[in-house]
């Protein structure tokens, strides 16, 4: 599944870039993130409990940041595995200044497997968009806090 879109965060690209790779900010913004541990330079392990109304899934996964070009772009690689399925994604985030804020454009591809792939296709697209939106909303709220 291809995923792309953009969201504007109310901070300059330099700060946005840093926040988008800050373990604490990530942990606080990722839907259902329970734990995010840095395991190596630009590598993290995480546990997530993703809840969307009745639907719930526990995932354990990895995040890796690569191809860093401060403060314009980086690549994000995500892997998650749980009883209801697994996902593997890769995307490029491009940051461009927009009137003191930053437009974050994301463009990537996610593979899902297991139960969520088998029974979820009708709603995967909308659900993915929703989770991404929730992530950026939380990020935005965080950005607005004085650093």
């Amino acid at each position: 599944m291809k995923i792309s879109g953009s969201y504007t965060l109310p901070a300059a690209p330099e700060r946005t870039y840093a926040l988008l790779q800050d373990p604490e900010a990530l942990a606080a913004s990722m839907p259902g993130c329970r734990e995010l541990v840095r395991t190596a330079e630009d590598e993290y392990e995480m546990k997530m409990n993703v809840v969307i109304s009745s639907i719930q899934g526990l995932f354990a996964g990895k995040i890796r940041v690569a191809d860093k070009e401060f403060p314009a772009r980086f690549r994000l690689l995500v892997e998650g595995d749980g009883k209801i399925g697994f996902l593997k994604g890769e995307g490029v985030l491009t940051l461009s200044p927009a009137d003191g804020a930053t437009e974050v454009h994301y463009d990537g591809e996610v593979q899902v497997g297991g139960m969520i792939a088998g029974v979820g296709q009708r709603l995967l697209d909308a659900t993915a968009k929703y989770l991404i939106k929730r992530f950026f909303e939380k990020m935005a709220a965080r950005v607005e806090q004085p650093s």
């Binding site: 593979q111 497997g113 297991g114 792939a117 088998g118 009708r122």
Partner: protein, 777 residues
């Protein structure tokens, strides 16, 4: 002797309601899941979520710690049993070892990895979540054409080209035919993967009696006897210590013409734990792990003359086999090749088949099994040729049909068509549909800018499988007819039905031969301990082969009845009809019940006659049968949305002699519904990573009752000489005929926009896009 009334009522040819239906519609039938046994345990199967992966480790201790969990078995525990059998053979066929549980690798999503045995089915299911498997995912390939590309992931590492077999068949002078042609039309045609979706999923109960050293397997299967042989082999058990019972079976459509890992596995588990074990497949497992059907990519070329004469046909057939061979997997595309010429006279034919492994569940026989693909291909190609030369699709067919005086007709693919009157069937369908008025209506509709189409398919099929030399496991069938001491009649048939209605049709045969009432006959089947060895129900064979076996058993029985009758009447000139034996000299009679009683009492046996009234017959058919027909479909496509409306569906089928028109129509209705499913709705979609994304009935659309149009059925009747009853078979006709008729109709509707071909399913968005493009062009 009391006077007896001769029965004059006959049953064959009448619309008799099905004897089996009351129990089916009142919920009192016994399916596998209805079987309960003291001490029964339950199994759940852990399945791979990956299409290709190495298994690095399996940890079962957490599951085993639960007091309700009795055992967990993994691949290493079952090394001594199996493999899951493949019954088909082809020269050079590569047969991957198909272990009952995955060993170090998984090959498709749903591949069984471990089996949990627990006290109840709830714990068994919970325990699946307590087993941990470390997988190392590997690249997978789910598309047969991509699997053939150089550098594609190898499904089985030992065969990096992913080719399981190639198969070539050729007749006539194909190159000459194409060189002499006025027109050659080429088209790639896809017969998409389908999920058979029997209403009842599979299920197995296994019961091991250690004292008797005997195993009973209850399975929702179409082939209890073949299963007994094959499972006995897989388990290393003497076949006479294995009993297989197919209780009520809620549909199969070919998907239960198989021996699966689970039957072997449950037998193994029962013997290990010494308790009866039950496994019932969930719908999701059914989608992931029970065979799929079709899965062709076909490259066709047809050569013809401007006058409509077909000269030859070329086909490159790419068969998506899936990851393994199930019972008949590699044989299915060879059936397509056999039926490639359809019912047309051309002699030049070349077929190249490539069987390709993919990281998907295996394909195998699904209603029609190879013939729908062939018929779809030839019927589309004939239409395309007609369109190319500007000829009416009916006319090109009339021009090329094999003619009635040419039977038996030797086809270029080596078959001998028994009988046929193809033009008559098409004429009848055209008359019922009002073909010429419809074409007028179409002209008017087109002037109004409407997309109105008329599609024809004239199909021939191969049924009544089949003479034994041409089938992998024998093509005969057995029947036993027994008149009990009270005159009631029991029939045992090897053609174990799963919804077809043999309990009714076979009883009808008995009624007319023995002069008994339909309620006096019980047809029993499906239990290898009760019924002599038989082959099963598939390939539209049950009545044509199994029914014929019943017929022959009845003839022998009637001879015996006459002998007892003659003894009782003290006459040497008797005849038997309408349920009574009559002395032709004195007119004295004796009833069947009296004869039966005397035959078992055996106080006075006719010379050289055994007591009792039992007759068993194993009938070997001399040939296949070749039913045919013509379907005409009228459609209209919504220009704004691409939605297809079926305005008329006319089905004229010729299945030889008809025993029960009600059941024949029922088979046509059901077959057409499944054909519509393929034409309009169904497609098993695997994504690039081998995930089945149509994994539930929420996404995989089978036609519901409200989506099936009224079907106008009619028929012609051309008996076959292959069996004395003259019957050919009708189980698959509707499915085979339907999809090309629908696609031809919709292509016809869109032809003013320049559309020549559309692959199934004809989902609205696809048509909408074609309409958009046509509008711009």
């Amino acid at each position: 002797m009391a006077t007896t009334i001769t029965k004059t009522e006959t049953f064959v040819g009448k619309r008799i309601r099905r004897k089996e239906d009351p129990r089916l519609i009142t919920g009192t039938a016994t399916y596998v899941d209805d079987i309960q046994m003291p001490g029964m345990h339950y199994a759940a199967i852990l399945r791979s979520p990956h299409a290709a992966a190495r298994i690095l480790a399996i940890r079962t201790d957490a599951a085993l710690r639960h007091p309700g969990v009795v055992a967990v078995f993994t691949g290493k525990d079952v090394e001594g049993i199996g493999p899951v059998p493949c019954g088909a053979s082809l020269p050079g066929l590569r047969v991957p070892y198909h272990s009952v549980l995955a060993r170090d690798r998984v090959y498709f999503v749903g591949h069984p990895v471990a089996v949990v045995v627990a006290r109840d089915r709830y714990i068994a299911r919970d325990a699946l979540d307590w087993i941990e498997v470390d997988y190392e995912p590997l690249p997978a390939v789910a598309d047969p054409e991509k699997a053939l590309e150089p550098g594609a992931p190898a499904v089985h590492p030992e065969w990096p080209d992913n080719i399981a077999f190639t198969y070539h068949q050729e007749a006539g002078d194909v190159d000459k035919a194409f060189a002499e042609a006025d027109v050659v039309v080429k088209q790639r045609i896809v017969s998409q993967r389908l999920i058979p979706t029997a209403l009842e999923t599979r299920g197995v109960v296994a019961d091991w009696r250690s004292g008797e050293k005997s195993l009973t397997i209850y399975s929702s299967t179409q082939i209890p006897h073949l299963m007994r042989t094959l499972v006995a082999q897989a388990l290393g058990l003497p076949e006479n210590r294995l009993r297989v019972v197919a209780p009520e079976v809620g549909g199969g459509f070919g998907s239960k013409l198989n021996v699966y890992a689970e039957e072997i596995l449950m037998g193994f588990v029962a013997m290990k734990i010494g308790k009866p074990i039950k496994w019932i497949e969930s719908r999701r497992e059914n989608f992931l792990c029970t065979i799929h059907g079709r899965g062709h990519v076909d490259y066709f070329e047809i050569a013809g003359k401007r006058d409509g004469t077909i000269l030859g046909l070329k086909l490159k057939l790419i068969q998506d086999l899936g990851a393994y061979h199930q019972l008949l997997t590699p044989a299915i595309p060879t059936l397509s090749v056999l039926m490639m010429p359809g019912i047309y006279r051309f002699r030049n034919i070349r077929a190249e088949v490539i069987g390709v492994f993919t990281n998907c569940v295996p394909t195998d026989a699904y209603r029609g099994a190879g013939r729908p693909e062939a018929t779809h291909g030839i019927e589309r190609m004939v239409d395309m040729l007609a369109a190319e030369i500007g000829m009416d699709p009916a006319e090109i067919r009339f021009k090329n049909f094999v003619r009635p005086d040419e039977f038996p007709y030797a086809t270029p693919t080596g078959l001998s068509y028994d009988t046929g009157n193809y033009a008559t069937a098409l004429e009848k369908a055209m008359e019922v549909a009002g073909y010429h008025q419809l074409r007028e209506e179409q002209k008017k509709a087109r002037q109004e800018g409407r997309l109105f189409g008329i599609g024809i398919s004239t199909y021939g099929e191969i049924c009544a499988f089949g003479p034994s030399p041409a089938t992998p496991a024998g093509g005969w069938e057995s029947a036993t007819v027994r008149v009990e001491p009270t005159g009631k009649v029991t029939v045992l048939t090897g053609s174990s039905p799963h919804g077809q209605g043999q309990e009714t049709t076979f009883a009808q045969l008995v009624c007319d031969e023995l002069g008994v009432d339909i309620d006096d006959v019980v047809v029993q089947h499906g239990d290898t301990a009760m019924v002599p060895y038989g082959i099963g129900t598939f390939g539209s064979r049950a009545t044509a082969v199994g029914g014929t076996a019943v017929y022959f058993a009845l003839q022998a029985l009637k001879e015996k009845i006459k002998k007892f009758g003659a003894t009782l009447l003290d006459s040497d000139d008797v005849s038997f009809s309408g349920g009574v034996c009559i002395c032709n000299k004195t007119g004295r009679t004796v009833s069947l019940a009296e004869i039966a009683a005397a035959s078992y009492r055996a106080a006075k046996l006719p010379p050289g006659t055994e007591p009792g009234l039992v007759s068993t017959y194993f009938w070997e058919p001399p040939n296949f049968t070749f039913p045919f027909g013509a379907h005409i479909v009228v459609t209209e496509v919504d220009r704004e949305t691409g939605a297809v409306e079926i305005k008329r569906y006319v089905a004229v089928d010729d299945c030889g002699k008809v025993i029960n028109p009600l059941l024949v129509e029922g088979q046509v209705h059901g077959g057409v519904a499944q054909g519509l499913g393929q034409a309009l709705y169904e497609q098993a979609v695997y994504d690039d990573n081998g995930q089945l994304v149509t994994g539930e009935l929420m996404d995989y659309a089978i036609p519901k009752a409200t989506m099936v149009p009224r079907i106008e059925t009619d028929r012609t009747e051309t008996p076959t000489p292959v069996n004395p009853l003259g019957i050919k078979g009708v189980g698959e006709a509707g499915t085979i005929a339907c999809s090309p008729a629908v696609v031809n109709s919709v292509v016809d509707a869109l032809s003013p926009l320049g559309v020549r071909h559309i692959d199934m399913p004809l989902v609205p968005e696809k048509l909408w896009r074609l309409i958009q493009k046509g509008g711009q062009a």
